[in-house]
């Protein structure tokens, strides 16, 4: 009984995370990107608590708290502030349009299922149903980075990719040691800060945060 609930919960949580990830692909305004990221992180925190409770690993509660503090509160706050300072930029012309993006992301999730199939077959974890979804989330995050033009949307794409990795780690291992988890959080924070500095510089130089313009730097 407990195992069945665990399996259902983890699949549900992973699906929610993936759904919020895919949401990015058909929204245009940056504020929609940020709120999708916030909801995704919230879903992941909840999933972490569930895994901690059902998998009997109290350390995960701490991880969930840090996770929520960083990714539900701190990062979305900074992202919103940046968006305001840079003035309502929209992801108006991505490299791949919305319809094609959705089809491609569907294919990517299929690929994720295909890739993880051998692992899922041999695995006895109750959480194994979420593994393909986590890999799919990683793919979708990378896809956002590749196809979206604005620096801010790329940052969100990177954070979604990071969420995918965190989800995969939680599902596959029931929580890696706390110290490693903390290191990863610090990494994300540092990476975000560096990217933030770069975005301001790009904006200052090009009057825009279209990453396209960087091709002028080529020698």
């Amino acid at each position: 009984m407990n195992d069945a609930l665990f399996a259902q919960l983890s699949t549900l949580g992973s699906s929610l995370a993936l759904l919020f990830g895919i949401t990015l692909l058909w929204r245009r305004s940056l504020s929609a990107y940020i709120s999708a990221f916030r909801w995704q992180s919230a879903a992941l925190s909840a999933l972490l608590v569930a895994i901690g409770y059902l998998g009997d690993d109290p350390e995960l509660y701490f991880v969930a708290i840090f996770f929520a503090a960083l990714k539900v509160i701190a990062l979305p706050y900074y992202l919103t502030r940046m968006e305001k300072q840079l003035g309502g930029e929209r992801e108006s012309q991505p490299y791949v349009n919305v319809a094609t993006s959705l089809i491609l992301s569907g294919l990517l999730v299929l690929l994720a299922y295909a890739v993880t199939r051998p692992l899922v077959i041999v695995s006895t974890l109750p959480t194994r149903g979420g593994l393909p979804l986590a890999v799919g989330l990683i793919f979708v995050g990378l896809f956002v980075v590749v196809t979206r033009k604005k620096a801010l949307t790329q940052i969100v794409g990177f954070l979604v990719l990071e969420n995918g990795i965190a989800l995969l780690a939680a599902l596959a291992t029931f929580g890696i040691p706390l110290i490693v988890e903390l290191g990863v959080f610090l990494d994300v924070l540092m990476g975000f800060l560096v990217m933030q500095v770069f975005v301001y510089h790009i904006h200052g130089t090009f009057e825009s945060i279209d990453v396209d313009q960087l091709s002028e730097l080529r020698y």
């Binding site: 490299y95 295909a114 990378l142 960087l214 002028e216 080529r218």
Partner: protein, 681 residues
Amino acid sequence: MQPIFLLLIFSYCFGALMALLFGASALGRVLAGTGAAVGAGAGILLGAGVIVSGAPFQWSAPGLLPTAGGLALGLDALGGFFLALIGVGALPAAIYGVGYSAAYAPGSVSLRQLGVMFNLFLLTMSLVTFADNVLTFLLMWEGMSLTSYFLVVSEPGQPGTVRAGVWYAAMTHAGLALLLAAFVLLINGGSSAFADLRVTAGEITPGLRGAIFLLAFFGFGSKAGLIPLHVWLPRAHPAAPSHVSALMSGVMIKMGVYGLLRVGLDLLGGGPTWWGALVLAVGAASALLGILFALMENDLKRLLAYSSVENIGIVFIGVGAAMLFGAKGLPAAAGLALIAALYHALNHTAFKGLLFLGAGAVLHATHTRDMNRMGGLIRTMPRTAFFFLIGSLAIAGIPPLNGFVSEWLLFQSLLPGVGLAQPIVAALVTLAIGMLALTSGLAAAGFVKAFGITFLAIPRSPEAAPTRQSSHEAAPSMQWGMGLLVASCLLLALTPTWIVPGLARVIAGLAGVGDALPSFTLGLSLHLGDGFADVSPLLAALGLLVVLGLAPGAMALARVNRSLRVSDSWGCGRVDQTPRMEYTATSFAEPLRRVFAELYRPTKELTIDFHPESRYFVQSIEYRSEIRGWFEEILYLPVISAIQWLSRYVRLLQSGSLHGYVSYLFVVLILLLATILWSGG
């Protein structure tokens, strides 16, 4: 042995560290030079110790770099000889460098970088001779190449320096690629320790052995500067600071000889006749073409660089003859040829180092390398002129100096090859003897030019004029450096009866050469056994001293009661003599340029401006003649343009678009996963 080894490592590291800490200050220069000099001295002691005692030195640290066998160091007699050779070149160069580097204009050269790289260069080059497995060898070899690259580009502000660096880096890395291939084939999946390779090399098929040898020969040949791989020498040697040129030309190119002996004769254990024939032919071609190109140069350091090609060619003639005789079953002649080759390598270190240091002193004083702007320097820098004269005599093979001894030995060792049963081989050896003789003669002409145009007659330009402040004698440390090399030239010249038995120990372990020692009778003179001639440089020197001592005495006697008159030489009736009447460097070499016109293919351009009224009145004549390197154009231009063509397409990858770069990552990830899926299921 152990303390000397540690002293060697420690002092080079000390020198590098001091250069790093104190940089361009006088203290930093002196300490960096001291570290290098002490390390070089330790190298001489250790090398000589291993040769004399006959006990190899071992030191290994398998824990250091655990992949591929770790760092394994060992010094046998062959390595010991080359370690000592490094010391012979490096000790004076380090002393000289202290004074030489002081003269650079502030900001033009980073003396910190120069000091650090100089010490690291010597350290890695010394460790090449210690290498006892493939990893250590290649690692130290690459360290030597990289540090010497940084030494070449010490003066990036000078025109041509960066280009010279690119040529050097390209050639040396092409060589490294060949060496990597050779060692991969040689290891063949087994152990990479040299001791194991000696055993397993016997099981390799002859075809593969030939391939390994060819790869190694051309790989080491690019470092040694054999024709046609010599193109970096005349570019990099002039660009580098002079004491570095002395080391690169006098010492580093010998590492190519060491590598070939190590791989060809030690690890592979010798091979069929064609190996030796190839080395002999390439060596003879390098010797002759090297000196022919040297003769046409008006840039003093380029001339010396081409002369290095010549001398390394002579060394390879000896090596090739040794391999050839070894394959033909003539161990005594093979041993003698190899001894002659190593002797010449050592001699070349002494006199070419001396000449480069002398050229550096001249450059230091006149700030030009163009010989047509020099002249008359013997009056402002008499000591440098004397040192340079000794070096020129030695390199030209004038008895009783050291160049003569080794070239004489080489001639003696080649003679038995003339009677070999295989006609082609006999013809090749005979041809090599002829080319060697021609080379020696041309070398004498070349160094008459180098010394005469630079130091004699009257100054050809304001830079060389004695009234100028800049034309001055070299600093004391520079004179000490050159003096040390003069001393080594004389020592090497007068003591062949001690050096030759030492060299016989060095080559004792190599394939095909047998034990050469019994064939010598040693004493005051060198008796080479039946069928060879005798020589006694010591007696020759004594005789010469007597003659030279008598001559001034006789002249003094003849001049009694006659007053000494100092005057101009006869100027064909002209009252005033100007530098424009002198022989120039170009005109001195003009006869040879005509004789070998087919080789040089000079371009000529004659422009005559006539007076508009009459063709009998000429207003000006302009004659321009250049020697283009057609040789390099044929061989290297196609390669260079092919690489440039290829790199245009590679450059498409660098689109400049950030999305492009990220999508490379994405696409590769997807493709990899798809491949795993497809292949593994």
